[in-house]
Protein backbone atom coordinates (compact mmCIF):
# COMPACT_ATOMS: atom_id res chain seq x y z
CA UNK A 1 0.00 0.00 0.00
CA UNK A 2 2.95 2.30 0.49
CA UNK A 3 3.27 2.76 -3.22
CA UNK A 4 -0.39 3.58 -3.66
CA UNK A 5 -0.73 6.37 -6.21
CA UNK A 6 2.96 7.01 -5.98
CA UNK A 7 3.73 6.46 -9.64
CA UNK A 8 3.57 9.44 -11.96
CA UNK A 9 1.26 7.66 -14.40
CA UNK A 10 -1.26 6.93 -11.67
CA UNK A 11 -1.27 10.20 -9.77
CA UNK A 12 -4.71 11.61 -9.09
CA UNK A 13 -4.43 15.36 -9.31
CA UNK A 14 -7.44 16.91 -7.64
CA UNK A 15 -8.26 20.62 -7.86
CA UNK A 16 -9.10 22.99 -5.02
CA UNK A 17 -12.86 22.37 -5.39
CA UNK A 18 -12.55 18.65 -4.78
CA UNK A 19 -10.00 19.13 -1.98
CA UNK A 20 -12.44 21.54 -0.31
CA UNK A 21 -15.26 18.96 -0.55
CA UNK A 22 -13.10 16.19 0.93
CA UNK A 23 -11.95 18.51 3.75
CA UNK A 24 -15.60 19.42 4.49
CA UNK A 25 -16.47 15.73 4.59
CA UNK A 26 -13.65 15.02 7.05
CA UNK A 27 -14.60 17.95 9.29
CA UNK A 28 -18.23 16.82 9.28
CA UNK A 29 -17.01 13.66 11.03
CA UNK A 30 -15.94 15.80 14.02
CA UNK A 31 -19.35 17.53 13.92
CA UNK A 32 -21.04 14.14 14.14
CA UNK A 33 -18.76 13.28 17.06
CA UNK A 34 -19.94 16.42 18.83
CA UNK A 35 -23.60 15.55 18.20
CA UNK A 36 -22.99 12.03 19.55
CA UNK A 37 -21.33 13.57 22.63
CA UNK A 38 -24.46 15.70 23.22
CA UNK A 39 -26.63 12.60 22.86
CA UNK A 40 -24.71 10.52 25.41
CA UNK A 41 -26.90 9.62 28.38
CA UNK A 42 -24.36 8.72 31.05
CA UNK A 43 -20.67 8.15 31.67
CA UNK A 44 -21.09 4.37 31.81
CA UNK A 45 -18.94 1.98 29.82
CA UNK A 46 -22.03 0.56 28.10
CA UNK A 47 -23.02 4.03 26.95
CA UNK A 48 -19.56 4.92 25.67
CA UNK A 49 -18.47 1.60 24.17
CA UNK A 50 -21.84 0.19 23.05
CA UNK A 51 -23.83 3.36 22.42
CA UNK A 52 -26.14 2.44 25.31
CA UNK A 53 -27.05 -0.77 23.41
CA UNK A 54 -29.41 1.32 21.34
CA UNK A 55 -28.28 0.98 17.71
CA UNK A 56 -31.23 0.81 15.32
CA UNK A 57 -31.46 -1.09 12.04
CA UNK A 58 -29.95 1.42 9.62
CA UNK A 59 -27.12 2.41 11.97
CA UNK A 60 -26.29 -1.16 12.91
CA UNK A 61 -26.38 -2.39 9.34
CA UNK A 62 -24.19 0.42 8.00
CA UNK A 63 -21.71 0.22 10.87
CA UNK A 64 -21.39 -3.55 10.35
CA UNK A 65 -20.94 -2.94 6.62
CA UNK A 66 -18.44 -0.07 6.89
CA UNK A 67 -16.45 -1.93 9.54
CA UNK A 68 -16.29 -5.26 7.69
CA UNK A 69 -15.26 -3.81 4.34
CA UNK A 70 -11.97 -1.99 4.76
CA UNK A 71 -9.53 -0.21 2.48
CA UNK A 72 -8.13 -3.63 1.70
CA UNK A 73 -11.37 -4.59 -0.09
CA UNK A 74 -10.96 -1.60 -2.41
CA UNK A 75 -7.19 -1.59 -2.98
CA UNK A 76 -6.01 -5.06 -1.99
CA UNK A 77 -8.76 -7.13 -3.61
CA UNK A 78 -8.53 -5.32 -6.95
CA UNK A 79 -4.79 -6.03 -6.97
CA UNK A 80 -5.24 -9.72 -6.11
CA UNK A 81 -7.91 -10.09 -8.83
CA UNK A 82 -5.42 -8.54 -11.28
CA UNK A 83 -2.87 -11.21 -10.35
CA UNK A 84 -5.19 -14.21 -9.89
CA UNK A 85 -8.03 -13.57 -12.33
CA UNK A 86 -11.38 -15.29 -11.69
CA UNK A 87 -9.80 -17.46 -9.00
CA UNK A 88 -10.51 -14.50 -6.70
CA UNK A 89 -14.25 -15.35 -6.87
CA UNK A 90 -13.25 -16.98 -3.56
CA UNK A 91 -13.43 -13.51 -1.96
CA UNK A 92 -17.21 -13.32 -2.47
CA UNK A 93 -17.68 -16.70 -0.80
CA UNK A 94 -15.40 -16.01 2.16
CA UNK A 95 -16.86 -12.57 2.83
CA UNK A 96 -20.28 -14.23 2.97
CA UNK A 97 -18.84 -16.83 5.37
CA UNK A 98 -18.26 -14.11 7.99
CA UNK A 99 -22.05 -13.86 8.42
CA UNK A 100 -22.34 -17.62 8.58
CA UNK A 101 -19.73 -17.53 11.34
CA UNK A 102 -22.02 -15.19 13.32
CA UNK A 103 -24.91 -17.59 12.83
CA UNK A 104 -22.92 -20.32 14.55
CA UNK A 105 -22.39 -18.47 17.84
CA UNK A 106 -24.30 -15.16 17.91
CA UNK A 107 -27.73 -16.52 18.99
CA UNK A 108 -26.32 -17.66 22.35
CA UNK A 109 -23.76 -14.89 22.76
CA UNK A 110 -26.33 -12.13 22.22
CA UNK A 111 -28.69 -13.50 24.88
CA UNK A 112 -25.82 -13.90 27.36
CA UNK A 113 -24.45 -10.43 26.55
CA UNK A 114 -27.75 -8.75 27.34
CA UNK A 115 -28.40 -10.61 30.55
CA UNK A 116 -24.82 -10.42 31.83
CA UNK A 117 -24.13 -6.90 30.54
CA UNK A 118 -21.03 -7.82 28.56
CA UNK A 119 -19.03 -4.90 27.15
CA UNK A 120 -16.03 -6.70 25.65
CA UNK A 121 -15.39 -10.18 24.22
CA UNK A 122 -13.19 -10.70 27.33
CA UNK A 123 -16.30 -10.35 29.52
CA UNK A 124 -17.82 -13.39 27.82
CA UNK A 125 -14.58 -15.41 28.05
CA UNK A 126 -14.26 -14.55 31.73
CA UNK A 127 -17.92 -15.45 32.40
CA UNK A 128 -17.83 -18.72 30.51
CA UNK A 129 -14.45 -20.11 31.52
CA UNK A 130 -13.56 -18.27 34.74
CA UNK A 131 -9.88 -18.44 33.81
CA UNK A 132 -7.96 -15.15 34.26
CA UNK A 133 -5.05 -16.47 32.19
CA UNK A 134 -7.30 -17.41 29.29
CA UNK A 135 -9.07 -14.04 29.39
CA UNK A 136 -5.75 -12.19 29.53
CA UNK A 137 -4.16 -14.15 26.68
CA UNK A 138 -7.28 -13.84 24.50
CA UNK A 139 -7.47 -10.09 25.17
CA UNK A 140 -3.78 -9.58 24.35
CA UNK A 141 -4.14 -11.56 21.11
CA UNK A 142 -7.19 -9.53 20.10
CA UNK A 143 -5.41 -6.25 20.85
CA UNK A 144 -2.37 -7.39 18.85
CA UNK A 145 -4.52 -8.36 15.85
CA UNK A 146 -6.49 -5.10 15.99
CA UNK A 147 -3.33 -3.00 16.34
CA UNK A 148 -1.99 -4.60 13.15
CA UNK A 149 -5.28 -4.05 11.40
CA UNK A 150 -5.37 -0.35 12.38
CA UNK A 151 -1.73 0.09 11.44
CA UNK A 152 -2.43 -1.18 7.91
CA UNK A 153 -5.34 1.29 7.57
CA UNK A 154 -3.15 4.19 8.79
CA UNK A 155 -0.39 3.39 6.30
CA UNK A 156 -2.95 3.24 3.49
CA UNK A 157 -4.40 6.60 4.59
CA UNK A 158 -0.95 8.19 4.35
CA UNK A 159 -0.36 6.76 0.88
CA UNK A 160 -3.80 7.93 -0.26
CA UNK A 161 -3.25 11.52 0.91
CA UNK A 162 0.21 11.64 -0.67
CA UNK A 163 -1.27 10.50 -3.97
CA UNK A 164 -4.21 12.90 -3.73
CA UNK A 165 -1.98 15.94 -3.31
CA UNK A 166 0.51 14.94 -5.98
CA UNK A 167 3.13 14.35 -3.29
CA UNK A 168 3.05 17.91 -1.96
CA UNK A 169 1.61 16.65 1.35
CA UNK A 170 3.82 13.82 2.67
CA UNK A 171 2.21 10.57 3.83
CA UNK A 172 3.18 11.28 7.46
CA UNK A 173 1.15 14.53 7.49
CA UNK A 174 -1.85 12.65 6.08
CA UNK A 175 -1.55 9.92 8.70
CA UNK A 176 -1.29 12.40 11.59
CA UNK A 177 -4.19 14.59 10.37
CA UNK A 178 -6.61 11.73 9.68
CA UNK A 179 -5.65 9.99 12.94
CA UNK A 180 -6.37 13.17 14.92
CA UNK A 181 -9.76 13.59 13.22
CA UNK A 182 -10.57 9.95 13.94
CA UNK A 183 -9.57 9.98 17.58
CA UNK A 184 -11.33 13.32 18.15
CA UNK A 185 -14.75 12.10 17.05
CA UNK A 186 -14.18 8.70 18.67
CA UNK A 187 -13.38 10.13 22.11
CA UNK A 188 -16.21 12.65 21.86
CA UNK A 189 -19.02 10.16 21.49
CA UNK A 190 -17.58 6.63 21.64
CA UNK A 191 -19.58 3.98 19.81
CA UNK A 192 -22.34 6.50 18.94
CA UNK A 193 -19.81 8.68 17.08
CA UNK A 194 -18.22 5.71 15.37
CA UNK A 195 -21.56 4.19 14.35
CA UNK A 196 -23.03 7.50 13.16
CA UNK A 197 -19.95 8.36 11.12
CA UNK A 198 -20.11 4.81 9.78
CA UNK A 199 -23.59 5.61 8.43
CA UNK A 200 -22.11 8.33 6.19
CA UNK A 201 -18.99 6.30 5.46
CA UNK A 202 -21.03 3.17 4.68
CA UNK A 203 -23.29 5.04 2.24
CA UNK A 204 -20.23 6.62 0.58
CA UNK A 205 -18.57 3.22 0.29
CA UNK A 206 -21.66 1.66 -1.24
CA UNK A 207 -22.02 4.54 -3.73
CA UNK A 208 -18.29 4.32 -4.53
CA UNK A 209 -18.53 0.60 -5.36
CA UNK A 210 -21.63 1.12 -7.52
CA UNK A 211 -19.88 3.91 -9.44
CA UNK A 212 -16.92 1.60 -10.02
CA UNK A 213 -19.25 -1.09 -11.40
CA UNK A 214 -20.85 1.50 -13.67
CA UNK A 215 -17.61 3.02 -14.99
CA UNK A 216 -14.75 0.53 -14.90
CA UNK A 217 -15.90 -2.37 -17.17
CA UNK A 218 -16.80 0.23 -19.85
CA UNK A 219 -13.13 1.15 -20.11
CA UNK A 220 -12.49 -2.22 -21.77
CA UNK A 221 -15.77 -2.51 -23.70
CA UNK A 222 -17.81 -4.39 -21.10
CA UNK A 223 -17.34 -7.53 -19.02
CA UNK A 224 -17.87 -10.02 -21.88
CA UNK A 225 -15.14 -8.32 -23.93
CA UNK A 226 -12.81 -8.41 -20.91
CA UNK A 227 -13.36 -12.17 -20.51
CA UNK A 228 -12.93 -12.90 -24.22
CA UNK A 229 -9.68 -10.89 -24.29
CA UNK A 230 -8.42 -12.63 -21.17
CA UNK A 231 -9.21 -16.03 -22.68
CA UNK A 232 -6.92 -15.17 -25.59
CA UNK A 233 -4.12 -13.41 -23.67
CA UNK A 234 -3.96 -15.17 -20.27
CA UNK A 235 -6.33 -18.18 -20.29
CA UNK A 236 -5.19 -19.28 -16.82
CA UNK A 237 -7.00 -16.25 -15.37
CA UNK A 238 -10.41 -17.41 -16.61
CA UNK A 239 -9.97 -21.13 -16.06
CA UNK A 240 -11.31 -23.03 -13.07
CA UNK A 241 -8.78 -23.25 -10.17
CA UNK A 242 -6.76 -26.40 -9.55
CA UNK A 243 -7.64 -28.75 -6.68
CA UNK A 244 -5.00 -27.04 -4.54
CA UNK A 245 -6.61 -23.72 -5.46
CA UNK A 246 -10.00 -25.11 -4.33
CA UNK A 247 -8.38 -26.19 -1.06
CA UNK A 248 -7.28 -22.56 -0.59
CA UNK A 249 -10.91 -21.44 -1.18
CA UNK A 250 -11.97 -23.77 1.64
CA UNK A 251 -9.16 -22.48 3.83
CA UNK A 252 -10.31 -18.88 3.23
CA UNK A 253 -13.85 -19.90 4.23
CA UNK A 254 -12.53 -21.13 7.61
CA UNK A 255 -10.12 -18.21 7.98
CA UNK A 256 -12.85 -15.60 7.54
CA UNK A 257 -15.77 -17.61 8.94
CA UNK A 258 -13.87 -18.26 12.18
CA UNK A 259 -11.44 -15.30 12.19
CA UNK A 260 -13.26 -12.22 10.86
CA UNK A 261 -16.49 -13.17 12.67
CA UNK A 262 -14.74 -12.88 16.03
CA UNK A 263 -13.12 -9.52 15.44
CA UNK A 264 -13.80 -7.75 18.76
CA UNK A 265 -15.34 -4.73 17.03
CA UNK A 266 -17.77 -7.06 15.23
CA UNK A 267 -18.71 -8.85 18.47
CA UNK A 268 -19.29 -5.51 20.18
CA UNK A 269 -21.68 -4.54 17.41
CA UNK A 270 -23.67 -7.69 18.20
CA UNK A 271 -23.82 -6.50 21.82
CA UNK A 272 -24.83 -2.96 20.79
CA UNK A 273 -28.01 -3.70 18.84
CA UNK A 274 -31.24 -2.22 20.16
CA UNK A 275 -33.06 -5.56 19.87
CA UNK A 276 -32.76 -9.00 18.39
CA UNK A 277 -35.12 -7.98 15.60
CA UNK A 278 -32.74 -5.18 14.58
CA UNK A 279 -29.74 -7.50 14.71
CA UNK A 280 -31.42 -10.22 12.65
CA UNK A 281 -32.48 -7.74 9.94
CA UNK A 282 -28.98 -6.23 9.78
CA UNK A 283 -27.25 -9.61 9.51
CA UNK A 284 -29.77 -10.80 6.90
CA UNK A 285 -28.98 -7.80 4.70
CA UNK A 286 -25.24 -8.23 5.28
CA UNK A 287 -25.37 -11.69 3.65
CA UNK A 288 -25.85 -10.03 0.24
CA UNK A 289 -23.19 -7.33 0.63
CA UNK A 290 -20.24 -9.35 -0.78
CA UNK A 291 -22.04 -9.08 -4.14
CA UNK A 292 -21.88 -5.28 -3.95
CA UNK A 293 -18.27 -5.08 -2.78
CA UNK A 294 -15.93 -8.04 -3.27
CA UNK A 295 -17.54 -8.95 -6.62
CA UNK A 296 -17.16 -5.37 -7.92
CA UNK A 297 -13.55 -5.21 -6.68
CA UNK A 298 -12.85 -8.43 -8.61
CA UNK A 299 -14.45 -7.08 -11.80
CA UNK A 300 -12.30 -3.91 -11.51
CA UNK A 301 -9.13 -5.99 -11.09
CA UNK A 302 -10.01 -8.12 -14.14
CA UNK A 303 -10.76 -5.06 -16.29
CA UNK A 304 -7.42 -3.58 -15.28
CA UNK A 305 -5.61 -6.59 -16.80
CA UNK A 306 -6.84 -5.36 -20.21
CA UNK A 307 -6.71 -1.60 -19.58
CA UNK A 308 -3.38 -1.55 -17.72
CA UNK A 309 -1.42 -4.58 -18.95
CA UNK A 310 2.03 -5.61 -17.71
CA UNK A 311 1.93 -4.20 -14.17
CA UNK A 312 4.48 -5.92 -11.97
CA UNK A 313 3.50 -7.56 -8.71
CA UNK A 314 4.24 -4.50 -6.55
CA UNK A 315 2.36 -2.17 -8.88
CA UNK A 316 -0.83 -4.22 -8.67
CA UNK A 317 -1.73 -2.47 -5.39
CA UNK A 318 -2.10 0.65 -7.54
CA UNK A 319 -4.70 -0.91 -9.83
CA UNK A 320 -7.64 1.06 -8.48
CA UNK A 321 -5.96 4.51 -8.39
CA UNK A 322 -4.63 3.92 -11.91
CA UNK A 323 -8.10 3.00 -13.18
CA UNK A 324 -9.47 6.13 -11.49
CA UNK A 325 -6.76 8.16 -13.16
CA UNK A 326 -7.89 6.87 -16.58
CA UNK A 327 -11.56 7.64 -15.76
CA UNK A 328 -10.94 11.16 -14.46
CA UNK A 329 -8.95 12.12 -17.54
CA UNK A 330 -11.86 11.12 -19.83
CA UNK A 331 -14.45 13.76 -18.83
CA UNK A 332 -15.46 16.29 -16.19
CA UNK A 333 -18.20 13.85 -15.00
CA UNK A 334 -15.54 11.17 -14.65
CA UNK A 335 -13.43 13.60 -12.62
CA UNK A 336 -16.18 14.25 -10.05
CA UNK A 337 -17.12 10.58 -9.89
CA UNK A 338 -13.51 9.78 -9.01
CA UNK A 339 -13.66 12.42 -6.25
CA UNK A 340 -16.61 10.46 -4.77
CA UNK A 341 -14.69 7.18 -5.15
CA UNK A 342 -11.70 8.70 -3.40
CA UNK A 343 -13.90 9.89 -0.53
CA UNK A 344 -15.31 6.33 -0.39
CA UNK A 345 -11.76 4.96 -0.10
CA UNK A 346 -11.02 7.30 2.82
CA UNK A 347 -14.36 6.28 4.35
CA UNK A 348 -13.45 2.59 4.03
CA UNK A 349 -10.10 3.15 5.75
CA UNK A 350 -11.38 5.40 8.54
CA UNK A 351 -14.53 3.41 9.35
CA UNK A 352 -12.49 0.26 9.92
CA UNK A 353 -9.70 1.98 11.84
CA UNK A 354 -12.01 3.93 14.20
CA UNK A 355 -13.98 0.78 15.11
CA UNK A 356 -10.79 -1.15 15.84
CA UNK A 357 -9.42 1.75 17.90
CA UNK A 358 -12.57 1.94 20.04
CA UNK A 359 -12.52 -1.80 20.56
CA UNK A 360 -8.86 -1.81 21.64
CA UNK A 361 -9.55 1.03 24.07
CA UNK A 362 -12.46 -0.90 25.62
CA UNK A 363 -10.42 -4.07 26.09
CA UNK A 364 -7.42 -2.29 27.62
CA UNK A 365 -9.67 -0.33 29.97
CA UNK A 366 -12.13 -3.04 30.98
CA UNK A 367 -10.16 -6.27 30.73
CA UNK A 368 -6.69 -5.08 31.75
CA UNK A 369 -6.75 -1.71 33.59
CA UNK A 370 -9.83 -2.49 35.67
CA UNK A 371 -8.90 -6.09 36.45
CA UNK A 372 -5.19 -5.70 37.16
CA UNK A 373 -4.58 -2.05 38.03
CA UNK A 374 -7.66 -0.40 39.48
CA UNK A 375 -10.50 -2.76 40.44
CA UNK A 376 -12.27 -0.07 42.50
CA UNK A 377 -12.60 2.47 39.66
CA UNK A 378 -16.07 3.79 38.91
CA UNK A 379 -17.56 3.49 35.43
CA UNK A 380 -17.10 7.24 34.86
CA UNK A 381 -13.40 6.97 35.78
CA UNK A 382 -12.99 3.96 33.48
CA UNK A 383 -14.67 5.82 30.61
CA UNK A 384 -12.24 8.68 31.13
CA UNK A 385 -9.30 6.25 31.17
CA UNK A 386 -10.67 4.71 27.96
CA UNK A 387 -10.59 8.09 26.20
CA UNK A 388 -6.97 8.69 27.24
CA UNK A 389 -6.20 5.17 26.18
CA UNK A 390 -7.45 5.92 22.63
CA UNK A 391 -5.03 8.86 22.38
CA UNK A 392 -2.10 6.75 23.60
CA UNK A 393 -2.89 3.85 21.22
CA UNK A 394 -3.28 6.09 18.19
CA UNK A 395 -0.05 7.95 19.02
CA UNK A 396 1.90 4.68 19.19
CA UNK A 397 0.33 3.39 15.99
CA UNK A 398 0.98 6.66 14.13
CA UNK A 399 4.65 6.50 15.17
CA UNK A 400 4.82 2.90 13.94
CA UNK A 401 2.97 3.73 10.70
CA UNK A 402 5.35 6.56 9.88
CA UNK A 403 8.56 4.84 10.85
CA UNK A 404 8.07 1.08 10.55
CA UNK A 405 11.28 -0.79 10.01
CA UNK A 406 11.01 -3.09 7.00
CA UNK A 407 12.09 -6.16 9.00
CA UNK A 408 9.11 -5.65 11.26
CA UNK A 409 6.60 -5.58 8.45
CA UNK A 410 6.01 -9.35 8.20
CA UNK A 411 5.46 -9.55 11.95
CA UNK A 412 3.00 -6.70 11.75
CA UNK A 413 1.08 -8.36 8.93
CA UNK A 414 0.14 -11.33 11.12
CA UNK A 415 -3.39 -10.98 12.35
CA UNK A 416 -5.70 -13.79 11.27
CA UNK A 417 -3.10 -16.44 12.21
CA UNK A 418 -3.28 -15.04 15.74
CA UNK A 419 -6.93 -14.03 16.04
CA UNK A 420 -8.37 -17.27 14.68
CA UNK A 421 -6.94 -19.23 17.64
CA UNK A 422 -9.54 -17.58 19.90
CA UNK A 423 -12.36 -19.11 17.82
CA UNK A 424 -12.91 -22.20 20.05
CA UNK A 425 -13.86 -19.89 22.97
CA UNK A 426 -16.91 -18.85 20.96
CA UNK A 427 -17.67 -21.64 18.49
CA UNK A 428 -17.18 -24.46 21.03
CA UNK A 429 -17.39 -22.70 24.40
CA UNK A 430 -21.01 -21.70 23.91
CA UNK A 431 -22.02 -25.30 23.18
CA UNK A 432 -19.61 -27.76 24.78
CA UNK A 433 -20.37 -27.58 28.47
CA UNK A 434 -17.44 -29.81 29.39
CA UNK A 435 -14.89 -27.57 27.70
CA UNK A 436 -12.78 -26.03 30.44
CA UNK A 437 -10.67 -22.88 30.42
CA UNK A 438 -7.42 -24.81 30.81
CA UNK A 439 -8.28 -27.00 27.79
CA UNK A 440 -9.00 -23.94 25.65
CA UNK A 441 -5.79 -22.31 26.87
CA UNK A 442 -3.71 -25.35 25.90
CA UNK A 443 -5.46 -25.54 22.50
CA UNK A 444 -4.87 -21.82 21.92
CA UNK A 445 -1.15 -22.10 22.70
CA UNK A 446 -0.79 -25.17 20.47
CA UNK A 447 -2.66 -23.42 17.63
CA UNK A 448 -0.47 -20.33 17.98
CA UNK A 449 2.75 -22.35 17.99
CA UNK A 450 1.71 -24.27 14.85
CA UNK A 451 0.23 -21.27 13.00
CA UNK A 452 3.03 -18.83 13.75
CA UNK A 453 5.72 -21.53 13.53
CA UNK A 454 4.70 -22.50 10.00
CA UNK A 455 4.56 -18.84 8.95
CA UNK A 456 7.96 -18.01 10.42
CA UNK A 457 9.52 -21.12 8.86
CA UNK A 458 8.34 -19.94 5.44
CA UNK A 459 5.23 -22.14 5.05
CA UNK A 460 2.36 -19.64 4.97
CA UNK A 461 0.27 -22.36 3.26
CA UNK A 462 0.32 -26.15 3.56
CA UNK A 463 -1.54 -28.07 0.79
CA UNK A 464 -3.38 -24.85 0.02
CA UNK A 465 -4.45 -24.35 3.66
CA UNK A 466 -3.36 -21.18 5.50
CA UNK A 467 -0.94 -21.70 8.40
CA UNK A 468 -3.49 -20.15 10.79
CA UNK A 469 -6.13 -22.68 9.66
CA UNK A 470 -3.71 -25.58 10.22
CA UNK A 471 -3.07 -24.13 13.70
CA UNK A 472 -6.83 -23.91 14.27
CA UNK A 473 -7.21 -27.60 13.38
CA UNK A 474 -4.63 -28.49 16.04
CA UNK A 475 -6.40 -26.11 18.43
CA UNK A 476 -9.81 -27.78 17.81
CA UNK A 477 -8.23 -31.24 18.19
CA UNK A 478 -6.81 -30.24 21.61
CA UNK A 479 -10.25 -28.94 22.68
CA UNK A 480 -11.94 -32.13 21.50
CA UNK A 481 -9.46 -34.32 23.33
CA UNK A 482 -9.52 -32.17 26.46
CA UNK A 483 -13.31 -32.10 26.72
CA UNK A 484 -13.49 -35.90 26.22
CA UNK A 485 -11.07 -36.40 29.09
CA UNK A 486 -12.90 -33.99 31.41
CA UNK A 487 -15.76 -35.56 33.35
CA UNK A 488 -18.84 -33.76 34.66
CA UNK A 489 -21.47 -31.51 33.21
CA UNK A 490 -21.73 -27.79 33.89
CA UNK A 491 -24.48 -25.62 32.53
CA UNK A 492 -23.89 -21.94 32.05
CA UNK A 493 -26.21 -21.46 35.03
CA UNK A 494 -23.89 -23.61 37.17
CA UNK A 495 -20.95 -21.55 36.03
CA UNK A 496 -22.75 -18.30 36.88
CA UNK A 497 -23.77 -19.59 40.33
CA UNK A 498 -20.21 -20.59 41.14
CA UNK A 499 -18.87 -17.05 40.69
CA UNK A 500 -20.11 -14.29 43.01
CA UNK A 501 -18.81 -11.57 40.64
CA UNK A 502 -21.07 -12.74 37.88
CA UNK A 503 -24.04 -13.00 40.21
CA UNK A 504 -23.52 -9.39 41.15
CA UNK A 505 -23.14 -8.32 37.53
CA UNK A 506 -26.25 -10.28 36.59
CA UNK A 507 -28.21 -8.60 39.38
CA UNK A 508 -27.29 -5.14 38.11
Amino acid sequence: METLMGNSESQLTFGWGSLFLITAYLLSMIGIGWLAHRKSQSHSLADFYLGGRSLGFLTLFLTLYATQYSGNTLFGYTGIAYRMGFGWTASILFMFSVIMGYLLFAPRLVVLARRQNFITPGDYISYRFGSPWLTLLSTLLMIYALANYTLAQLKAMGAAVEGLTHGSVPASYGIVTLAIIMVLYETLGGMRSVAWTDVIQGVLLLVGFLLLLFMVPKLAGGLSTVVENLTKSTPSKVEVPTLEGCSTWLSYVFLFGCGAAIYPQAIQRLYASRSLKVLKRSLALMTFMPLTTALIAMICGLTAIIVLPDLNSEETDQVLPRLCSVIMNESIVGYWLVVVIFAAALAALMSTADSALLSMSSMITKDIFRVYLSPQSSEAQLTSVGKWCSWVIITLLVVLAIGTDKTLIRLLELKFEVLIQIAPCFFLGLYWKRLSGSTVLVGMMAGLIVGLGLTVMGYPRVWGLHAGVVGLMVNFACCLLGSRLTAGYQSLGDIARSRPDDQARSAT
Binding site: F86, T89, I92, L93, F96, I99, M100, L103, L104, F105, P107, R108, V110, V111, L112, A113, R114, R115, Q116, G222, L223, S224, V226, V227, E228, T231, P235, V238, E239, V240, P241, T242, L243, C246, W249, L250, V253, S273, S275, L276, K277, L279, K280, L283, A284, T287, F288, P290, L291, L295, Y431, S491, L492, G493, D494, A496, R497, S506
Partner: protein, 89 residues
Amino acid sequence: MQNHVPEDDPLRYLIKEPRRIRWLWAVYLFLYAVAIPWYWPAGYRGPLILGLPLWVAVSLGSVVLLAGWTCWVIFRYWKTIDGDTNGEQ
Protein backbone atom coordinates in the same frame (compact mmCIF):
# COMPACT_ATOMS: atom_id res chain seq x y z
CA MET B 1 -31.67 -27.83 24.67
CA GLN B 2 -34.39 -26.02 26.64
CA ASN B 3 -35.53 -29.26 28.29
CA HIS B 4 -32.25 -29.50 30.18
CA VAL B 5 -31.64 -25.85 30.97
CA PRO B 6 -31.78 -24.93 34.68
CA GLU B 7 -34.00 -22.07 35.84
CA ASP B 8 -31.12 -19.61 36.30
CA ASP B 9 -29.39 -20.37 33.02
CA PRO B 10 -29.62 -17.25 30.83
CA LEU B 11 -29.88 -19.47 27.77
CA ARG B 12 -33.39 -20.55 28.74
CA TYR B 13 -34.53 -17.38 26.93
CA LEU B 14 -33.30 -18.81 23.65
CA ILE B 15 -36.02 -21.09 22.29
CA LYS B 16 -34.78 -21.66 18.75
CA GLU B 17 -31.26 -21.51 17.34
CA PRO B 18 -30.05 -22.61 13.89
CA ARG B 19 -27.04 -24.55 15.15
CA ARG B 20 -29.27 -27.18 16.77
CA ILE B 21 -31.13 -28.07 13.56
CA ARG B 22 -28.93 -30.46 11.65
CA TRP B 23 -30.70 -30.55 8.30
CA LEU B 24 -30.15 -26.79 7.89
CA TRP B 25 -26.42 -27.47 7.89
CA ALA B 26 -26.79 -30.27 5.35
CA VAL B 27 -28.18 -27.63 2.97
CA TYR B 28 -25.24 -25.36 3.79
CA LEU B 29 -22.82 -28.20 3.12
CA PHE B 30 -24.43 -28.86 -0.28
CA LEU B 31 -24.40 -25.16 -1.29
CA TYR B 32 -20.77 -24.73 -0.19
CA ALA B 33 -19.83 -27.88 -2.14
CA VAL B 34 -21.40 -26.30 -5.25
CA ALA B 35 -19.85 -22.86 -4.60
CA ILE B 36 -16.27 -24.21 -4.42
CA PRO B 37 -15.43 -25.22 -8.01
CA TRP B 38 -13.63 -28.55 -7.31
CA TYR B 39 -15.83 -30.67 -9.59
CA TRP B 40 -15.07 -29.03 -12.98
CA PRO B 41 -12.53 -30.56 -15.36
CA ALA B 42 -9.03 -29.02 -15.16
CA GLY B 43 -8.64 -25.90 -17.30
CA TYR B 44 -12.42 -25.53 -17.85
CA ARG B 45 -13.94 -22.13 -18.71
CA GLY B 46 -17.31 -22.86 -20.28
CA PRO B 47 -19.71 -20.51 -22.09
CA LEU B 48 -20.27 -16.98 -20.80
CA ILE B 49 -23.33 -16.41 -18.59
CA LEU B 50 -24.04 -12.67 -18.08
CA GLY B 51 -20.44 -12.01 -19.10
CA LEU B 52 -18.99 -14.55 -16.65
CA PRO B 53 -17.50 -18.00 -17.33
CA LEU B 54 -19.98 -20.77 -16.48
CA TRP B 55 -18.04 -22.04 -13.43
CA VAL B 56 -17.91 -18.49 -11.98
CA ALA B 57 -21.64 -18.00 -12.63
CA VAL B 58 -22.41 -21.29 -10.83
CA SER B 59 -20.24 -20.29 -7.84
CA LEU B 60 -21.86 -16.85 -7.65
CA GLY B 61 -25.32 -18.41 -8.02
CA SER B 62 -24.52 -20.62 -5.03
CA VAL B 63 -23.44 -17.59 -2.99
CA VAL B 64 -26.78 -15.90 -3.82
CA LEU B 65 -28.61 -19.07 -2.72
CA LEU B 66 -26.47 -19.23 0.44
CA ALA B 67 -27.37 -15.61 1.23
CA GLY B 68 -31.10 -16.20 0.62
CA TRP B 69 -31.01 -19.42 2.63
CA THR B 70 -29.24 -17.66 5.51
CA CYS B 71 -31.88 -14.90 5.57
CA TRP B 72 -34.60 -17.53 5.85
CA VAL B 73 -32.72 -19.42 8.56
CA ILE B 74 -32.14 -16.21 10.55
CA PHE B 75 -35.80 -15.24 10.57
CA ARG B 76 -37.25 -18.75 10.94
CA TYR B 77 -34.89 -20.47 13.38
CA TRP B 78 -33.45 -17.76 15.66
CA LYS B 79 -35.96 -16.93 18.33
CA THR B 80 -35.99 -15.95 22.01
CA ILE B 81 -38.75 -16.81 24.48
CA ASP B 82 -39.89 -13.21 24.73
CA GLY B 83 -39.83 -12.34 21.06
CA ASP B 84 -37.21 -10.11 19.55
CA THR B 85 -35.90 -8.24 22.55
CA ASN B 86 -32.55 -10.01 23.04
CA GLY B 87 -33.83 -12.07 25.93
CA GLU B 88 -35.00 -9.09 27.97
CA GLN B 89 -38.37 -9.33 29.64
